[in-house]
């Protein structure tokens, strides 16, 4: 996808590309970061990855497999296609933006190809369920990266000039991470004092 779309994208003005992709990444990243903060702060429940894995596995095993054209298992095909398309499109957008930014689409395509091999090998080496991966910490990190790079590219696409150019990312990314961590700390403190108030009120209610 990167190799096919890359040359076509070079025809689009770089600033327009940065503006559109940067804004989408920014909105998407802030949403991810917000959800990760709410989970880490105890406002929404953490995903039980093991339970989700077992539920999805059972649903996939129950699904009747039927052939469509040359595809022997249509359910399996659509399930895999959906996941790969969604995640692959995200990666393709990021790689294309990096590539067009540096006017090096072939290099970005080669790097994307290398990433496929590395991620494929890593996935084969670590075949354990996702429960062993600290999902919310990963989502927090991805949210910080998407928000930071999104803000950087959206501002550049809108015509802004960052002080220190690319080095501004070295301040922007830790700054966003710090903001997220402070929000998590604030939510946990709030939840702790609410839980203490509830615990203190319960014996009083039982006594009356």
């Amino acid at each position: 996808m990167v190799a096919a779309l890359g040359p076509a994208l070079t025809a689009i003005p770089t600033n327009a590309l940065r503006l559109v992709i940067g804004t989408v990444l920014l909105v998407f990243g802030v949403q991810w970061l917000r959800k990760a903060v709410l989970r880490a702060g105890g406002v929404t429940a953490l995903h039980d990855e093991e339970a989700i894995f077992q539920r999805k596995l059972a649903a996939a095993q129950r699904a009747a497999s039927h052939r469509r054209g040359t595809v022997p298992d249509w359910y399996g095909f659509t399930l895999a296609f959906q996941g790969v398309l969604l995640e692959g499109t995200e990666v393709a957008f990021i790689v294309l933006t990096f590539g067009s930014n540096q006017h090096a689409i072939p290099l970005a395509s080669a790097a994307a190809g290398a990433a496929i091999l590395v991620v494929g090998a890593a996935g084969f080496a670590v075949r354990a369920p996702l429960a062993r991966v600290p999902e919310n910490a990963l989502k927090f990190l991805v949210g910080v990266m998407l928000t930071g790079f999104g803000a950087f590219w959206a501002a550049e696409g809108a015509g802004a000039r960052w002080p220190g150019s690319d080095a501004a990312l070295l301040v922007l990314l830790p700054g966003i991470a710090l903001l997220g961590l402070l929000l998590v700390a604030g939510l946990r403190r709030q939840k702790g004092s609410r839980d203490r108030r509830t615990a203190a009120a319960s014996p009083a209610q039982q006594a009356s």
Partner: protein, 68 residues
């Protein structure tokens, strides 16, 4: 045809904007204002970090208060 288009559109909306359209609108407006300021001689790089600094805590606080 319309039903076929509605499902992917709803999927993209949920993926990118999610359950907080106000925050997404605020960020889009901040990008637009950045573009407007960039046409003048004033620096405009500070606007998006400021928007994140304001909108993220606001959105988190609103959700936390709603679910408390």
């Amino acid at each position: 045809m319309r039903r076929r288009l509605r499902a992917p559109a709803a999927f993209v909306y949920d993926l990118v904007i999610g359950d907080d359209w106000r925050g997404a609108l605020g960020l889009a407006m901040a990008v637009a204002v950045t573009a407007a300021i960039s046409r003048t001689t004033f620096p405009s790089w500070w606007l998006l970090p400021t928007a994140i600094l304001a909108l993220l805590p606001w959105s988190v606080w609103r959700t936390a208060r709603r679910r408390a």
